[in-house]
Amino acid sequence: MVSSRTYFLLLIALLVLCFGLAANLEPQFQSMRLSRASGDVFKILLGDSRALFANHFYVKADEYYHSGYYPTIFDNRDAFETPHMAEDTGAVNSKNHGPEEGFLGPPRDWIDAFGRHFFPDRHTHLDEGGPTDDLSGSENLREILPWLKLSADLDPDNVQTFTVTAYWLRVRMHKVAEADAFLHEGLRHNPDSYDILFELGRLYDEDYHDTDRARNVWKQAVRKWLALTPEMQKENKLVFEQITTHLGKLESDAGNYGRAVEWFRAAQKISLTPGDLQKRINELKKKMAAQPSPANSQPH
């Protein structure tokens, strides 16, 4: 007769075997392509088509920003080439032209004229009160967030989703911690993104009032931008201008006028409005001249 001790030892031996097998197989399973262990359900289900769906939901967020008033593929989309919710953050190059109000045009027939009473037919933005034009109701801007989050989950390589979401979270919803966490998530997926670093710097500067961290992050953003090819730099001039202008303002506020002048000069090289920047440089030079000691150093 087999004793209970034998069963017990056999059980322990089996458990050790299970543990050993699991420890051996788990790393192999993790490294397998499309492994479920990676936890990315969208990647498993949709593969590379995720980007298409992500773009759809990004546009959906802009549709919500307009409270449903949005052109279909049959309408004139010239004024909606760049989503307005991104354009209104001020950090995106706009490709929009033409009237935003009248993409529907005049009614073509009685069915068209009658039908316009049954869907949103007026251009509004949620941050300006939406359909009620009640500015106190601009908190409804939160309604774009689910689609932006879904879009970011589907396509974490799209930097703009992170920056736009973080901007609205921070500026209108006053959810700074959530914006911070979301930007860091974006940065994990896109470690070379100067756009995310710029937005992160704005968060540190404007919300946490932590100028040292803002300066460091923006300098890092400048380094990332300078590492781009000349063609890419040409396409992304706006963000560089914004980073350097913000750095200039930060240094100016800190009393480092020499560094501020250098940053404004860097911005001036690619700016569409170099005259305005020159005025600021002149003002700073006057302040420098009025200072008793030459304490200003050059930027690193």
Binding site: R108, H117, M173
Partner: protein, 258 residues
């Protein structure tokens, strides 16, 4: 009229004996509750995405119930050999068609009441407001739209051989109108003749079901639709319902029932 409503009552009872509605209703509730439990940036007031998903499910469920229930009415009577005894009673073929129509339409109305009560409760739980008139307009327009769909489906059940083919054709037809119906006139402008005339003919002939789809107004809290236009939309629906029912009666009158 009494005979028609008696027949409608029987059709209505059939709906709550069948499980279609319960299954769709429970699935809708479950999906909405799961979606409501998603944490989005720790903001519990976000509601519009939930309203959109909920209304989409309500529209799909209502269409499924309307088309599948109607499509099998007369073929089932024929298969079960109850059609002839039914017509042997003092019941004309027109009364049978009207009875079946009203039964299916009222059944759709009943399901819509349940769905919209759930929708209202869901929206109220987060918005803390209940725009009853807006919901009434949306539900009423939805119901009249389903009236047209039921009439089409009833006509289809007399024209097509089997309920399955009828249901499929009805689904495709309704989905096509809802998605591109509004734009056919716009597309027609870009076409050469004779395609333009054909496209325009289709545009003016089809029932514009998309007129009754006011989900965007409900989701984004737009103001009420002017009652004048609401009334005109109801008249528009009644005109199409009448047209399809007359066509169904004419087809059924000439159809062999054995």
């Amino acid at each position: 009229m009494k005979t028609i409503f008696a027949l409608a009552g029987v059709t209505l009872k059939e709906l709550y004996r069948r499980k279609d509605f319960y299954v769709l209703f429970i699935i809708t509730i479950l999906i909405c509750l799961v979606m409501a439990s998603v944490n989005i940036f720790n903001d519990e007031k976000i509601i519009r995405y939930l309203k959109e998903i909920s209304l989409l499910l309500i529209w799909i469920s209502a269409l499924v119930i309307a088309i599948t229930t109607t499509a099998r009415q007369i073929p089932a009577e024929r298969e079960n050999r109850t059609l002839l005894p039914l017509l042997a009673k003092p019941l004309t073929r027109t009364q049978l068609v009207l009875g079946k129509f009203f039964g299916c339409w009222f059944a759709c109305g009943l399901t819509l009441v349940c769905f919209y009560i759930f929708f209202g409760a869901l929206a109220e739980s987060r918005e803390h407001q209940l725009p009853l008139l807006n919901y009434f307009q949306a539900a009423a327009l939805h119901w009249f739209m389903l009236g047209i769909v039921v009439a089409i489906s009833l006509l289809g059940s007399l024209v097509f051989a089997a309920p399955s083919s009828n249901s499929t054709i009805c689904f495709v037809f309704v989905a096509a109108i809802l998605t591109v119906g509004r734009h056919i006139g716009q597309v027609a402008l870009t076409l050469p003749e004779p395609s333009r005339s054909i496209a325009y003919s289709i545009y003016y002939a089809i029932p514009h079901l998309e007129l009754f789809d006011v989900r965007d107004l409900i989701i984004h809290d737009w103001p009420l639709i002017a009652w004048k236009y609401f009334g005109l939309a109801v008249l528009y629906a009644l005109a199409y319902i009448s047209a399809f029912l007359v066509a169904a009666c004419l087809v059924f009158r000439r159809k062999a029932v054995n």
